[in-house]
């Protein structure tokens, strides 16, 4: 457990010192959210209606933007080789790196998104449900991104391929995340059901992602 924490801490320090992680994702997110109202025009009602969807899509794309970096550097400098020889199963390494990606990139975005919703005239009543759904959904986003990053780790500029591979996996998160975020607008029963399904997706990702990522990475190291 201590060594998993050491790995997470190292990845957080690296992403903080090298920039790239949370910084560029947050910048991209901010750019979309600022530009969207300008592009759509000053129709406040229209903005309020599309705000949750726009925020979710911005979140997905921002997470994708940084996804291919999860394993890239450790693969290129040989750290992954050494990590397979560590005392813990390689799956735990993959899980730790996904958690570090979530903490450094997805979680800050999920926290910032509902606040930046003011730029999109987001209905104040939906801030809380949106925040909860994004917090939950962002875990799944990082875990799924880890699979895509692992599958393309040996390819230089694999970013495009990551997007193509991971986007279909993101669609369920988007659908249920969005209906869970509508809060009072779509009725409490639907929001609750959607939130439960979103939780289920996150839990399934939690199991599948470390296994799939580790398997993909192992086959690359060979």
């Amino acid at each position: 457990m201590k060594l998993i924490l050491a790995l997470i801490r190292r990845d957080l320090v690296l992403s903080y010192r090298q920039g790239g992680g949370a910084g560029s994702a947050l910048g991209f997110f901010l750019a979309v959210v600022v530009l969207l109202p300008i592009g759509i025009g000053p129709d406040q009602q229209l903005l309020a209606r599309i705000a949750p969807g726009a925020l979710w899509i911005s979140l997905l794309l921002s997470v994708l933007l940084s996804a291919d970096r999860i394993y890239q550097q450790d693969y290129e400098d040989g750290s992954l080789d050494i990590m397979t020889m560590g005392p813990v199963p390689f799956e735990m390494v993959a899980l730790a790196k996904s958690v570090a990606h979530w903490l450094s990139t997805s979680l800050p975005l999920a926290i910032a998104a509902p606040l930046l919703g003011f730029l999109l005239n987001l209905d104040p009543a939906t801030i809380l449900p949106l925040g909860i759904a994004m917090m939950l959904g962002s875990i799944a986003l990082s875990l799924l991104a880890s699979i895509g990053a692992a599958v393309t780790v040996g390819l230089r500029r694999g970013g495009l391929l990551v997007s193509i591979l991971v986007l279909p996996l993101y669609v369920p998160v988007l659908i249920f995340g969005l209906s869970a975020s509508q809060g009072p607008a779509s009725g409490p029963e639907i929001a609750t059901a959607a939130l439960l399904i979103l939780t289920a997706i996150t839990l399934v990702s939690l199991v599948v992602s470390p296994l799939a990522s580790a398997a993909a990475l192992r086959s690359y190291l060979k």
Binding site: D77, G78, D81
Partner: protein, 199 residues
Amino acid sequence: MILSGGNLTCERGGRTVFSAVSLSLRSGELMQLTGPNGSGKSSLLRLIAGLNEQASGTLALEDGHGDLTIGQQAHYIAHQEAVKTALSVHENLAFWRDFMGGGDVGEALSAFGLSRLSTYPAGLLSAGQKRRLALARLVLVPRVLWLLDEPTVGLDSASLDRLVKVMAAHLGTGGMIIAATHVPLGREPDTRLELGASS
């Protein structure tokens, strides 16, 4: 403790790199691995470390730790140094200590003359210093089998002496070393393994 491999065959990308290689290494022995470029020296080391899979053959560490794989009882030092440029020299080693369960960072640094550079960002190190930082893992984390792939590349003569000393100490305490190198390692290797010319 005996590391024994029988009839090892390695394939990479559909091509047979080497076949029918057998080796045997006892506690306290140094094996020198030689052969022309492309003969599979690195592949053999990676295979022993568990990073490659052998196409056929057997590989076992007798009297080793039963629950652990050979890779988990080995160090693998290769061309890629696994050094994080954004971390300081000390932080780099401190991470590997926490991750692999090792000992004293200060001792490992001084074994390779890096104590003075402890707080230095690893990104500013020269190639030889980076190599020494990678080699410091050997001292930091006690593991019985050392797999060294061209360990002397980039080292000056003083650092080479340090490496020779560290290797001698390891062999003296019953460790095993397989080194793929053509440079004399300060002592006569106990066994030599020459991999054949590639076709």
